[in-house]
């Protein structure tokens, strides 16, 4: 089928699908975002059965399938479990210009990792095991970017 263009002029339709959505954030994450937006605090929630603390919080523990209504305030500090320095540019996706750093941060007092930006440090100085703290955005509107990024603890 590869050679049909020898006989026929090819037509290509450019397209774009643009559909608005209004996703409800739900009870658990709404509570989390309000705590972050209004008080600048990061909370996690704990499984009543295994004691695992999730941040971001979850409705149910994935291991025990239990409701998690036990909320704990976290100190906002943690350790870099893994990271990457992004060098490619996707202007419609990336809120930052490359090079910038994503990390998975194991927050103190929590048992799960949080994916976020690591900044306030040269990208090539970021290391696994580095101690970091959350920097809250000055203007907060109740979403994941209310945490501006994590930076090394001096």
């Amino acid at each position: 089928m590869a050679d049909w263009k020898d006989q026929v002029e090819e037509i290509v339709f450019p397209g774009k699908i643009s559909v608005p959505y209004f996703w409800t954030v739900g009870s658990t994450l709404s509570k989390w975002y309000v705590q972050m937006r209004d008080d600048g605090e990061i909370w996690g929630n704990r499984c009543p059965e295994c004691g695992k603390v999730y941040v971001p919080p979850k409705i149910k523990c994935i291991d025990c399938y239990q409701d998690m209504n036990d909320w704990v305030k976290l100190p906002g500090t943690g350790t870099v479990e893994t990271y990457t320095v992004v060098r490619y540019h996707e202007p419609t996706l990336h809120p930052k210009k490359p090079p910038f750093v994503y990390g998975v941060i194991k927050m103190d007092g929590a048992d799960t990792g949080m994916v976020h930006f690591i900044d306030g440090v040269k990208p090539d100085k970021v290391k696994v095991g580095m101690r970091v703290e959350a920097v809250m955005a000055k203007e907060r509107s109740g979403n994941i970017l209310d945490i501006k990024h994590f930076r090394p603890i001096p």
């Binding site: 699908i17 990271y83 990457t84 996707e90 994503y102």
Partner: protein, 378 residues
């Protein structure tokens, strides 16, 4: 339990910028698979199609290719995920007793859209999607975590690219046959540390199809020479959020592999060749550990020793792997087809001599959230 056989296969050449529509691709490979099985569409009683709405840019993308898949007047269902899961669905439909012969067909054209944009929409819009994560940057997080846990180094991951692009030279269907060195991989542009361009699979277009038949039908329809049996399958999923898993822990794959081996009645080292999902170089040793071919953290050592080379103890990705052609969703089906060709002894220059048992492993979701493992045999 009744056995299920693969009795026909068909695939396009994998390449960029295919000038065929989805319908044309599907019609092409469905026709090839039917011809390979020596049958017509009238002999097929149901169809499983595999596609992604976001990639195709249309809702219920499967509906649009139904006539091309020969589904008019028949039962058709769809898997939105890797082709290995489509085979699973096809087999289960046959084992249910409702159907006898199933056409499984997958299509994908990565070059008509934007890989990073589409894989970004895999992330939770309530959380990580806003951070701009995609398949590449999340894979980089997994690669670094794997390095931290195992001590593996980027130069060792590069060996996977060298091996698989080299294997692709013997596969006329592969897109990127290349003679490259570790230095070439290390010097290719850094995209997201530690992943460089040559650690990543290419955006690819293509389609593939296979025909499954119940044992009673398989015996009726084809010669012994072409028939290959699905001996075992296992599938298992891990947590959705990256932070809810340890990205270097292959617990879901281990469970899937154990189920597949147990159903097939084999041990890992009974396998003669394997196709594993190397969307990124580091994935090959990581998944080989999860599949039980070596201890955790030892994948790159085995790789360095040549265990997974064409002349090694277990040739891995003789097709050239996903690093040499990665039509997403189609890719796992292409793996199963490669296993079928190897077991038939018709894999040409890449034939693994005397292959009796073959393994294919596909993934769904970011960083291998879920896995489907197949054991096939003569």
């Amino acid at each position: 339990m009744e056995r299920v056989a693969v009795i026909g296969v068909g695939q396009t050449k994998y390449e960029q910028g295919k000038r065929d529509t989805f319908h044309e691709l599907v019609f092409d490979v469905a026709g090839k698979a039917l011809a390979d099985a020596g049958m017509t569409i009238k002999d097929v009683d149901n169809i499983v199609s595999i596609s992604s709405d976001f990639w195709d840019g249309r809702t219920i993308s499967s509906m649009a290719i139904q006539d091309a898949a020969g589904a008019f007047g028949k039962d058709i269902t769809t898997v939105e995920g890797d082709g290995t899961f489509g085979v699973l669905y096809g087999m289960m439909r046959i084992l249910s007793g409702s159907f006898g012969v199933c056409l499984v067909v997958a299509h994908h054209k990565g070059t008509e859209s934007n890989m990073n944009g589409i894989t970004n929409t895999c992330f939770d819009p309530l959380l990580e999607r806003r951070l701009g994560l995609d398949a590449l940057s999340s894979a980089a997080l997994q690669a670094r975590r794997y390095m931290a846990v195992s001590g593996a180094m980027p130069r060792q991951f590069a060996l996977v690219s060298v091996k698989n692009h080299g294997n692709a030279k013997n596969n006329p269907f592969a897109m990127l046959p290349m003679d490259i060195t570790v230095e070439d991989v290390m010097n290719s542009p850094m995209l997201a540390d530690p992943l460089k361009k040559l650690d990543c699979s290419p955006v690819t277009d293509g389609a593939a199809a296979l025909i499954l038949a119940a044992e009673r039908e398989a015996k009726k329809l084809v010669t012994n020479k072409k028939r290959v049996w699905l001996l075992g399958v296992g599938h298992c999923t891990d947590a959705y959020r990256l932070g809810d898993r340890d990205l270097a822990d292959t617990r879901a794959l281990k469970k899937a592999a154990k189920k597949a081996y147990s159903m097939a009645g084999v041990d890992p080292w009974d396998i003669d060749m394997a196709e594993v999902y190397d969307a990124f170089s580091y994935m090959e040793p990581l998944w080989l550990e999860g599949l039980g071919f070596c201890d955790d953290g030892k994948g790159v050592e085995y790789l360095e020793r040549g265990t997974f080379d064409m002349d090694g103890k277990l040739p891995v990705n003789p097709s050239g792997g996903r690093l040499s052609a990665n039509p997403v969703q189609v890719a796992g089906l292409a793996e199963v087809i490669e296993c079928v060709l190897q077991l038939r002894g018709t894999a040409g220059k890449r034939q693994v001599k005397g292959a009796e048992k073959a393994l294919a492993q596909g993934i769904n979701g970011m960083c291998g959230q879920s896995h489907c493992v197949w054991v096939l045999g003569k």
